[in-house]
Symmetry: C2
Subunit: 556 residues, 2 copies
Amino acid sequence: MSNHYSSAPSAYAYPLIIKQLLNRAKTVSTEQEIVYADKKRMTYADFFQRIGQFANVLAGLNLDKGDVVAVMDWDSHRYLESYFAVPMSEYVIQTVNIRLSPEKVLYTINHAKPKVLMVNSEFAPLVKDYQFENSSIEHIIWLDDNGVSYEGVFGHNENRVIGEYEALLAAASPEFEFPDFDENTIASTFYTSGTTGDPKGVFFTHRQLVLHTLTEAASLGVLPQKQGVSFGDVYMPMTPMFHVHAWGFPFTATMIGLKQVYPGRYAPDTLMDLIINEKVSITHCVPTILQMVIGEAQKRGVGFDGLKMIIGGSRLTEGVAKAALESDIEVYTGYGMSETAPLISLSSFSINEPEMTLEQDIERRCMTGNPVMMVDAQIWDQEQNSLPHDGEQTGELVLRAPWLTQSYFKNDDAGRELWQGGYMHTEDIAYMTASGTIKITDRLKDVIKSGGEWISSLQIETILSLHPSVADVAVIGVRDEQWGERPLAAIVLKPHCKDTTVEDIKAVAEQAVEKGMIPKYGVPSKFLLVDDLPKTSVGKHDKKVMRELYADQTGI
Amino acid sequence: MSNHYSSAPSAYAYPLIIKQLLNRAKTVSTEQEIVYADKKRMTYADFFQRIGQFANVLAGLNLDKGDVVAVMDWDSHRYLESYFAVPMSEYVIQTVNIRLSPEKVLYTINHAKPKVLMVNSEFAPLVKDYQFENSSIEHIIWLDDNGVSYEGVFGHNENRVIGEYEALLAAASPEFEFPDFDENTIASTFYTSGTTGDPKGVFFTHRQLVLHTLTEAASLGVLPQKQGVSFGDVYMPMTPMFHVHAWGFPFTATMIGLKQVYPGRYAPDTLMDLIINEKVSITHCVPTILQMVIGEAQKRGVGFDGLKMIIGGSRLTEGVAKAALESDIEVYTGYGMSETAPLISLSSFSINEPEMTLEQDIERRCMTGNPVMMVDAQIWDQEQNSLPHDGEQTGELVLRAPWLTQSYFKNDDAGRELWQGGYMHTEDIAYMTASGTIKITDRLKDVIKSGGEWISSLQIETILSLHPSVADVAVIGVRDEQWGERPLAAIVLKPHCKDTTVEDIKAVAEQAVEKGMIPKYGVPSKFLLVDDLPKTSVGKHDKKVMRELYADQTGI
């Protein structure tokens, strides 16, 4: 029968491409504001003109469809304009993570092969010795707020510089007819941080970003007003725009037509000034930035007036959540990763929820939250069986959603592993409650597989850290002939507790077994007292190094 | 470059099909309630089981993909189950408008050619003499709440009845693996009311309904809590489920995981009981139903406790809006039509809006509102030029959105007309303000085209009705050799005003010209005093009949 339902010849099939996100804002939000720190204010009407101008600048560069435009900038109006103008012109935006080591930054550029590099003058030292001759970069656009000239910076490669961004836009016509094209065209690419190897490239289509934007608006919209997004909110990112589309929020805020504030480089006083002066009402960040702005507010003796703040990137702890609530920040958790565009889950709130204690309230704000709409989230055991949502059984969190990277760029093996069994593997170990709340308990690579069972290193670490003599503890799995793997605990004692013995600490684990907190096989087979534990550059336990270091403990 | 971004072999491409709307609810909302009047209560977990059972019943009928399942029912849990189980099984649901005349109801069935008819025992009289032998209907499913048997109803066609719905479900397995398929598969079809000819069939794909659902959740979600949708709301339709997917809200409410209440046949006391007892917090209806429930509440001396109510279908007048607000109903306007699935625009609210007077507040609630996200709404003149949004210039409202019917079913000519110039023609005359608020001023067919200019019959009628002697007035266009068309006013005088002359009434129009309210050519060329005006079955002026009746007034 279906063939009877034929479309009219000039019916509009409506591709899900990024320009469609602007339809409402173009009609309703022309007078709304976009602010760049203390440097620039404009209306959405200006913004629409400027992305036309930017598109005309790009159109003059003789690029091919699908060519990559790399951006190295702090959070700015320029970045927002690039989010739209670059993919709407059928090019791919590469958001360069400038927080990686210089070698890794250059690795990601050499891997993505951009033809255009947009670079903030502050990052000139990073690229000035770059081997442009051997690279894909044909054109450089200079981004600058401080009157710094590009003259002399690039040596004999200066001819690649086509000009300074604002000057280029000023000279271009705002008239540009953004075309329709296939919604499965790639729109954006960026790289995972690659803590355990080279950064891996993820990539997203127009369709994926449109669906992410719609679902994010819906998911944040149906949260109660106190936590969610409403018309009239003022948005500012505090997770950078080079990091997983800044939660996709610049797209979402523009579609809704919110006032937007871009803070440039994150400095506590600038962030606080903008929150106060621009009346920022919703933002997102990592716990470190949250603590930074709380510190700044305390210094000034001011509060946050109910600022809504989604925490992601690393775990929101109960202590930090409490401090945030005390500063009048409506803090809660969002979960996602580079591979997921990123939104997967949000803390649960309802206008009709039962009363809860402060502790319960803090606890749910620190949970990984409920999957957002359209997301099919499951907990899988090692044989890819879906486990029941009983709040107990842990397995790997695997996902389907309309916006997950479909592989890694030029890395088919890693892509195949990512999508084993038709679901995207997060490599996070979690359980789910009967009401669909996810709790991440561990990273897969930190889980110890002992006799076919999984032991959470995080849980054992938490228990051992309860011993008053323990300053730091890490639990890793070491090879074992009988069990496959067995846990080993490496412990740093507090300076004045040097007479505490391995047996004293083991007793804590055994008490936890008696109380039913952990199974018997969760007690580490070996306890080592060490002077310190290897750390990564960001201060986390470097378990990779530890596994090498203690590899000789095999067969304990 | 794009070809480098290859997908992993088992990456999930995620088709936008209706089953995906259930992903979140299946994880998060299993204990949430679905209520059918005072007849049935169940959880979402039950609902998921039941759509599996229903799918197994349908699977036993040997249907082909794309076959039509027609539903004739009041708003019930059965209807909700059909919204999901039928399209998720790759069949098309036809929602039969049982408010049409019996002839037109049968016309729509004969036109859509369903193989399965689901019919509520209350509509048995309507179909009992139906010529099943000459129709497409092979199977009948009996829907009944009152212990009425189908025995004897269908005469020798009784063998087509496969059973009563609840009995069929009870006998079926809940295990059903809903398959993935092309998102452009047709999911639903229904018919316009056809006031000016045969009803016309519109149709929607899975993709369109998913995108409508997501955008509706986003658009209602980002309204302030007082007007919008939040987790914790309780939904009940008061626009029937056979009418443009009941605003698409059953899909949206299920995706979000709201408690849902289905009221059966709309009776004021049942509706009011359910609003109170089930704590309904959001609904939608036509102004007539609104007035009905206000009347019921006044009789009982109760209020509505901030019940959110979206009015569509016919214009919300200032008087009715005021009465609703006084009864503590948060009333506002949504705009859409059969061809648009239906959501196109909503009244504007913001958490940061400037203070306004009660009159201003009522006015914006009665406006057609702002286009929702993704909607490209334009005002076109007769040459398909887009007119400025200046709050003055009127033209036809034309649309692009991801969920518009792509034609009329088996009516290519009408489909071609609908989509002239690549935008969907609403046949509504409107202007748009600088802030994107649409105001419908007229139906296109009621506009009078005089010398290349458009005259709003509605506006002239409003002005003439201000004369104290006028009981009723209709203005239509009649053929004119010089001007193409000229307005003619047909007037019914109040009983005690029979000495009022045509000149007296014309003077009102001329005063309006002097005050600049209408152009000079807006004064009708002919005024007729008549005893009464032809009306349609729903009590509106029948201008089609009037145009025939007064056609001899050509060349006035």
